[in-house]
Symmetry: C2
Subunit: 250 residues, 2 copies
């Protein structure tokens, strides 16, 4: 039978939660339930994922997704956001439930079912320490992931699949870019995520024909060549069109 105490909460930095005075007794065994977050960000040439280095066993020193136990009266989404905030200081990101992983032995401590989420972050907003130093949180490019704890590699794969499948039919790519972006940046995003080259003129024609990105009067700065015009995504308009049955597609 599985261990009865898989959830040493100190594992997850919840030292401020005092252990309850009473124990919790049930007629049948119950799993622990956790949330894990795949935070994806976009670099110049890569999709990157945010990982934290575990400080405790199991998988001490291994890299893992930010996540932790769902509290007794907490919504699952809220638990995911809380863990993100506590472990990585990330807030206000696009967050969506991904899949629930419950293979009985996925956690050596016992039965732990995890509800995985994925988040899309503007990488520039979260310049956590570079992954190459001794810091315990970092962005890793997908093709150079370190050894990962639990089944987290599988969870990341599923997040990427979801991103790839969804980016063409929902305007979620904008969540990976700063509020003002150039069309070239946007095109790079699609090229990186979809892993294929796109034609510049056709891409611009298509994007502009949707009428959802608005030209601003700002220009790119800090480049040593002609500066690109910046655009913004018109979320309000998108939501209006959505209600009328509009379908986003790239």
């Amino acid at each position: 039978m599985a261990a009865e105490k898989p959830d040493k909460r100190s594992d997850k930095g919840e030292v401020w939660t005092p252990p309850p005075p009473g124990r919790h007794v049930y007629d049948y065994p119950r799993p622990s339930v956790t949330v894990d977050c795949v935070v994806l960000g976009l670099d110049a040439d890569d999709v990157k994922v945010l990982l934290i280095q575990r400080g405790v066993d199991p998988f001490k020193h291994a890299w893992a997704l930010p996540g932790g136990f769902v509290r007794d009266h907490e919504e699952l989404d809220a638990a995911a956001r809380r863990e993100l905030r506590e472990e990585t200081n990330i807030e206000d990101v696009y967050l969506e439930q991904l899949y629930t992983f419950g293979t009985p032995d996925r956690d050596p401590r016992g039965r732990v079912i995890t509800v995985a989420y994925y988040a899309l972050a503007k990488l520039s907003d979260y310049r956590v320490k570079a992954a190459t130093d001794a810091e315990n949180v970092g962005w890793y490019p997908l093709d150079r992931l370190p050894a990962l704890a639990f089944d987290h590699a599988e969870i990341i794969n599923r997040a990427i699949e979801r991103l790839r499948g969804k980016v063409r039919y929902a305007p979620i790519g904008f969540e990976l870019l700063p509020p003002r972006f150039s069309l070239t940046q946007l095109q790079r995003l699609y090229e990186i995520v979809l892993e294929r080259a796109l034609d510049k003129r056709n891409f611009r024609k298509k994007i502009l024909s949707l009428g959802l990105v608005i030209e601003t009067d700002e220009l790119e700065t800090g480049v040593r060549h002609r500066a690109a015009r910046l655009y913004r995504f018109d979320k309000k308009k998108y939501e209006r069109l959505l209600k009328q049955g509009f379908e986003f597609a790239i």
Copy 2:
């Protein structure tokens, strides 16, 4: 605090599982975890969902999705299939994880997190008792659902959304039809699920151009007009094409 024993297993027809000799004691409260299945079937003019009538509190006599508690060493998918088999005699259907619902008070017995699945069944294979009589399992058309237990109405809505979103980009519609079907049946399927009329000639042109439905030498029987030719879905070919990057789309 929530009730400590939400999972009276007798609720779910597991009387054959003897209560364990020992109690289960944990340092922190744990939720119960269940699976629920939205089984969708296709009638002449409707999508229907399979419901069971609850025999015990809470929501005694109310209609609900088939489902129940995940066992200690059981995969989530396996739990969903087991519950389907136990409660509705349905086996060998297309089954896919849908979403996990965990609002703290969604079950009056305490914290119960449910991993929802949706299944697509060939309605003709499962002529359970009609929903209008006193039987405790029945197919209900989506627009005439009875009052539902827990948050099961919300779960059903999400299943429909998923079906609608997916049917155009994955060949899952075939799971709702018998192995041999007419193109008119297939068209009806899409019309019902997508809730819009399709042009017969254009639909046939499109479907046949995919090269995934194969003409058989069988004809429809039992109709009082010219019989339609029957086709079958070429799953093998689809899987081959998938690996080559083919994208199904209607």
